[in-house]
Amino acid sequence: MRLLIKNGRVVDPINNIDEKLDIYIEKGVIKKIAKNINIDDVEIYNANNMIVTPGLIDMHTHLREPGYEQKEKISTGSAAAAMGGFTGVVCMANTNPVTDNQATVKLILSIAEKEGIVKVYPVAAVTKNQEGKELTEFGDLKNVGVVALSDDGNPIMNAELMRRALEYAKMFDLPILAHCEDKNLSGDGVVNEGYYSTIKGLRGIPDISESVMVARDIMLTKFTNSKLHIMHISTKRSVELVRQAKEEKLKVTAEVTPHHFSLTEDDIVDYDANFKMNPPLRSEEDRKALIKGLQDDTIEVIASDHAPHTLFEKEREFDLAPFGIIGLETVVPLTFMNLINPGFLSIFDAIKKLTLNPSKILKIKKEGIKKNVLADITVINPELEFIYNKDMIVSKGTNSPFLGKKLKSFPVMTIVEGKMVMKDRKIMV
């Protein structure tokens, strides 16, 4: 492949670049980065008015394989990632069997090697079978390539166990990604507790069910002098707690999903389970606080929490449908529409939260757009606009609250390890 990406605005927080540059790629390797490169006999991609960035990383994806292949497979989930502009995804451990042992990690990596379209970085469970009772073998799991530990979906309710997990993980420098939720406070809740839940007769999940656990985990992190990453932060109180922790110089990081900074409980189409996820959509006040948190870097990562389900699981009574929505293919448009275009974040800062920051937390090596490295590139067309519908979706799941909505700013090219996997909204493999 000889490819010249011309006239794009290169936004690379890894190498601190933000200017209009051409990029020349030969045999998958970036050979030249300069203004006005002219080479004969080469495929030219005109990226005029487009954004060229290092390949995006999604640090919160559910690929569902092994065990729930009816919802998603590594092949389909990684294709959705490529379509969404991601060159790497971090996949959660709530598979079946749970990713809590070397064999399952190896299985995921071998399927990813054969069928994966983007890089797949597995996460292993903190506790055996995600039951919150016994620790998994962190050392063994690190040896076969897990990048982090998480019981995502199941909070670790036992504070003693969480303490030991944080301590033990220090030996391996593995981050613990915490799903902060007090299960007793959440009960059988299905939407945010407030006026909406009250009026609609739905059981509520109060915001304190998250923030109580965020507070606990921050205290445990301080006590054990360890590291903590808080997943899918959703409330104002949680943001305040993380901000305080950072002021105290604790090693606490946080991520937010595009649906939490884009939607509130008031946007829920009544009893449509495509609006059901955990944590639930919160209030406008919470949404504003999340955006503030992104602005002052209290929240340094944007992650999808891509959670595909089958149609029949979601086409049912709201309280009986499973939690979760797909997200890989809508992260970029929602980030542009709701953070960049209204002026809350610069393109540079937003891209940083999708590239450099997750790679630092997970210690994933990212070279960025640099001479003599394998091309790992995403090109985004900020003007490209679609009515988002089921036919466009590459993931096996179509459970999105954004169906039927006009979305703008889509990735148009994804290059993974020198290989073009998506071009002009088509998967190339």
Binding site: G194, Y195, S197, T198, I199, K200, G201, L202, D270, Y271, F312, E315, R316, E317, F318, D319, L320
Partner: protein, 312 residues
């Protein structure tokens, strides 16, 4: 000949004041017919109504069935055990099957809030909500309002107290929407754990003290207290509940106040025998009125013919 210009009756939140008035006005001639010999009508002749109940119910299901039969409909009753909600055929598939059998109207009760809304948006037949989770019970609220209007002449400006387990009550929610739309003043009274203050946003007054809450009321609507709430840590004992919120001759001293209860009653818990059997209690009239309201709703949604011609 006026009709409800809608396919379904799902809740009172989505009904206008005019629609509520139309239903209440239409129920009146139907009730008058009860006292005449001609109880049976043919407004729904040839229509098939399926009463599908995913939750046990005696009074609501029977009331609907009587209303349907008096309107001349063919009636099918299906009771689905709650275990099969989780394990068996999906709700949507069941309802699509009934639609394929050309049912015309579905009366549905379900333990999940919004289940009738979900179904109504996916099948072409009329859906009438017979109670969904703790979200809505529109015909119950309509019959409550009918009863109040019959006894007090109007709803406008009247002070109505809903007492007890508001949090888990579909009757309370539908009453709040309906009464507010009709210009009544609504207050809710009960333990702080069962009376969500979020209702204040709907201009509803909140009281945690029964004595305070009862001051100046015209109507008390006493809700059934479920024993399982105790296990959910929402109040310590039935005994204390009764002492704090039970309506008896000592707590309700004004014999002018209309006493209502949607049933089934827990005598000795939320209501005393004395009050339940007193002159001021209209609990059995509510049951009678329920049939008139349900006839009116069915007639206004799917009936053919004109009730006024029969009455006159």
């Amino acid at each position: 000949m006026k009709r409800l210009n809608r396919k379904d009756l799902l809740d009172l939140e989505s009904l206008s004041k005019e629609e509520i008035e139309l239903i209440l006005d239409t129920a009146k001639p139907f009730k008058e017919l009860f006292t005449k010999t001609k109880k049976k009508l043919d407004f729904l002749k040839g229509k098939t109504i399926v009463n599908i109940f995913y939750e046990p119910s005696t009074r609501t299901r029977t009331s609907f069935e009587i209303a349907e039969k008096r309107l001349g409909a063919d009636v099918i009753n299906i009771t689905v055990s709650s275990s099969s909600v989780v394990k068996g055929e999906s709700l949507l598939d069941t309802i699509k099957t009934l639609t394929a059998m050309s049912a015309d109207i579905l009366v549905m009760r379900h333990s999940s809030a919004g289940a009738p809304h979900f179904i109504a948006s996916r099948v072409p037949i009329s859906v009438i909500n017979g109670g969904d989770g703790f979200h809505a019970h529109p015909t119950q609220a309509l019959l409550d309002m009918f009863t109040i209007r019959e006894k007090l002449g109007t709803l406008k400006g009247k002070r109505i107290a809903l007492i007890g387990d508001i949090l888990f009550s579909r009757v309370a929610r539908s009453n709040i929407w309906g009464l507010k739309k009709m210009g009544a003043k609504v207050r809710i009274i009960g333990p702080a754990t069962l009376v969500p203050e979020y209702f204040k946003k709907l201009d509803v007054e909140v009281f945690f003290d029964l004595k305070e809450g009862l001051k100046g009321v015209d109507v008390v609507n006493i809700l059934r207290i479920q024993r399982e709430r105790q296990k959910q840590m929402l109040f310590p004992t039935i005994r204390e509940y009764n002492r704090l919120f039970g309506i008896d001759e000592k707590t309700l001293t004004n014999s002018e106040v209309l006493v209502m209860h949607p049933g089934p009653m827990n005598r000795g818990i939320e209501i005393s025998d004395y009050i339940a059997d007193s002159e001021q209690a209209v609990i059995l009239e509510q049951v009678t009125n329920g049939i008139a309201i349900r006839m009116a709703v069915l007639y206004l949604i799917a009936g053919e013919g004109d009730i006024n011609e029969i009455i006159n």
